[in-house]
């Protein structure tokens, strides 16, 4: 009896909260402009991509998203361009801007939803849930969250087997002659730590900084990660520059190239990307039975380092 009352209470509560949802309680926003790659990725993963009427230039996965009308770079979106798409919702990452442009958009009466700054690995599920609610497809969101749980479990499984943490360096590019390297407090640092590695640059600086030759030599990373064609393992220009020539990573041929949006996008594929990174950092660890990589990696554009 008591149990029944509890169920009755909770179900009526649920009914109440669903009635009190002010936004799009019936079927959610229909014409959405998205500014931020991970949001686009999530909407595609929910199978609701036909609601997207415009994307920003960071929305590069899935490739189909790049055919949608472009509203500019996430931090430099264009007011009139967005209004011309007749959206009924602007869904944006925390860094959507500039602020004054965003304010102008809101002044014209366009509903906007800008995520607060939680673009991190732990926040993926929360983001999915929020977007699913805005699109009124809660069950799809729930399904996607459960789908990601497999990746989370696999990661725990892999990390249980390891006891040493390799020294890792994440190199953004070599274009300026000096490698731009990830320090502490950014997405690359976060995924390295999550995958059971130590970011050697983290103790020296924050953000992304150019790295001097001798500093790089003294860091002596065991593994170097860089962005590029997925899974390629050839000795790239990275192995040629004096910064890394003498490092363990180059000696043992452990320069890993991973697609940037897959690993750092903080979208629904990133949890799997971290599992994959963990297996690359700890080649002896095994994946749980029955787990395999399911999400696609985007086809990268030819990036010359």
């Amino acid at each position: 009896m008591k149990a029944q009352i509890t169920t009755l209470l909770t179900s009526s509560l649920l009914l109440l909260t669903s009635l009190l949802q002010p936004t799009y309680a019936d079927q959610g926003a229909k014409n959405i402009v998205v500014s931020g790659g991970s949001i686009t990725e999530i909407i595609y993963a929910l199978g609701e991509e036909n609601r997207i009427v415009g994307v920003d230039s960071t929305s590069v996965f899935p490739v189909a998203a790049t055919d949608k009308p472009q509203i500019g770079y996430v931090r430099k979106i264009n007011v009139e361009g967005i209004l011309s798409l007749n959206p009924d919702l602007l869904l944006g990452e925390a860094d959507t801007g500039p602020d004054k442009v965003l304010k102008q958009l809101q002044d014209t009466g366009l509903p906007t939803y800008i995520f607060s700054d939680n673009d991190d690995l732990a926040g993926v599920e929360e983001k999915i849930t929020t977007i699913a609610e805005l699109l009124a497809v809660k069950d799809k969101g729930q399904a996607l969250v459960e789908y990601i749980q497999a990746d989370r479990k696999a990661l725990t499984h892999v990390l249980k087997q390891v006891n040493n943490k390799p020294k890792v360096l994440f190199v953004l590019s070599l274009r300026s002659g000096q490698p731009i390297v990830a320090g502490a407090g950014n997405s690359a640092d976060e995924v390295i730590n999550a995958a059971g590695g130590v970011n050697v640059a983290a103790q020296h600086f924050d953000g992304w900084k150019p790295l001097a030759t001798e500093a790089a030599i003294s860091m002596d990373p065991d593994v170097i990660i860089s962005m590029g064609r997925h899974g390629e393992q050839k000795a790239t220009d990275l192995s040629q520059v004096p910064h890394f020539k003498f490092s363990n990573a180059v000696k043992n041929n452990r320069v890993i190239l991973i697609d940037g949006t897959y690993l750092l996008g903080m979208g629904p594929r990133t949890p799997q990307a971290v599992v994959e990174l963990a297996t690359l950092l700890h080649p002896n660890a095994t994946l749980p039975k029955g787990y395999r990589f399911r999400a696609a990696q985007s086809v990268p554009k030819n990036e010359s380092l």
């Binding site: 472009q70 264009n78 011309s84 602020d99 102008q104 014209t108 992304w208």
Partner: protein, 351 residues
């Protein structure tokens, strides 16, 4: 280059017609700018919105909150930059001078970038207090600060020579450049992106409330410049000659310096750095109608307004629904046009 009888339109009457033509051109460009853009609004609808008042909410908001402030800003900034360029070229007696010489661009960049990079730490009180106005105010203060430093260094007592101004300008610009480099180095990703975009220039996102103070300042400076036409003409003869003809040369130079600093500072504060307008517009106008400042100054203002309106129109519409940086367009439009004019002038000289 700055001598008389080397223009394409030497006759006085023709110059007056040319001014009229520029005014008409400015009006035409304004209307084209108001009717075209991402949201399509026909010419008749525009008239309704502007003069009859009522219309659908979105169209009304697009015109009154987005396009009109942007257009007014483009006109006034263009006019200001054109006038400052013309005056600078006169004072330096060199057609290659531009307002950057007296530290305006670097000073504004220093102010804006300091606000962006240190806004969350060292200057957090300032950035929080002024909100979205913090960067424009920072840019303006930085501009005035660097300009007054250059002014102090180059003026001793009642001497204010062009050589000392040039040298002080070069030295201070170099130092400021180094400081900006240091700030860039200590900036985070997000700040780095912000400052990159700031230095590319843009007219986007301004409402009437944000632009009115700057507009008043720029218009006042333009008015000030227009009263300096006659003394500037005499100044072109040479400093000694101008002095004998009763021009207070030092005061004239100081006035031009002050107006340029205030006017360009106010412009750059709102729009970021838009290069090339202050250099190319007076240059082209001079090739057309010669260096008589009674015509050169107003024509430079109108020309600058037209160039910036056109450039902004293209920036807003070329790659809809996104937007191009405006500095890119001003150079792409101005450069080839300038070259054509130059070639033509040389041909005339050879005949």
């Amino acid at each position: 280059m700055l001598a008389l009888e080397q223009s394409l339109i030497p006759a006085e009457v023709a110059r007056k017609w040319m001014l009229l033509g520029l005014i008409i051109g400015c009006i035409v460009v304004s209307f084209i700018g108001l009717t075209s853009g991402g949201v399509s609004i026909s010419y008749s609808r525009l008239m309704d919105i502007l003069f009859a008042g009522q219309s659908s909410n979105l169209e009304h908001a697009v015109i009154w909150q987005i396009r009109l402030p942007r257009l007014v800003l483009a006109i006034v900034v263009g006019a200001g930059l054109g006038a400052c360029g013309a005056a600078m070229q006169a004072i330096f007696r060199n057609p290659l001078a531009d307002p950057g010489l007296i530290g305006i661009s670097s000073g504004a960049a220093l102010g804006a970038i300091s606000t962006i990079v240190l806004g969350s730490t060292l200057l957090s009180g300032f950035a929080d207090y002024y909100g979205i106005y913090a960067v424009p105010i920072g840019a303006f203060l930085g501009c005035l600060g660097v300009c007054s430093l250059i002014y102090r260094l180059s003026s001793q007592g009642n001497r204010f020579t062009i050589v000392s101004l040039l040298l002080a300008g070069i030295a201070v610009n170099a130092i400021v450049g180094a400081v900006i480099g240091i700030l860039t180095l200590i900036s985070s990703d997000q700040q780095l992106r912000d400052l990159t975009f700031w230095s590319m220039g843009s007219l986007a996102g301004n409402s009437f409330t944000t632009i009115i103070p700057s507009l008043c300042l720029m218009l006042a400076c333009c008015f000030g410049f227009s009263r300096l036409a006659q003394p500037l003409n005499l100044y072109l003869l040479g400093e000694q000659q101008a002095r004998h003809l009763g021009v207070d040369v030092v005061r004239l130079k100081k006035k031009v310096f002050a107006y340029t600093a205030l006017c360009t500072g106010a412009a750059v504060a709102l729009t970021g750095i838009i290069g090339f307008v202050g250099f190319i517009v007076p240059h082209i106008v001079r090739l057309l109608i010669g260096p008589d400042h009674r015509y050169l100054l107003p024509a430079s203002m109108l020309g600058g307004a037209i160039l910036l309106c056109l450039a902004d129109l293209l920036a807003r519409t070329l790659i809809l629904p996104s937007e191009l940086p405006i500095g890119l367009i001003t150079s792409a439009l101005g450069g080839p046009f300038f070259l054509i004019m130059l070639v033509k002038t040389y041909r005339i000289k050879e005949l």
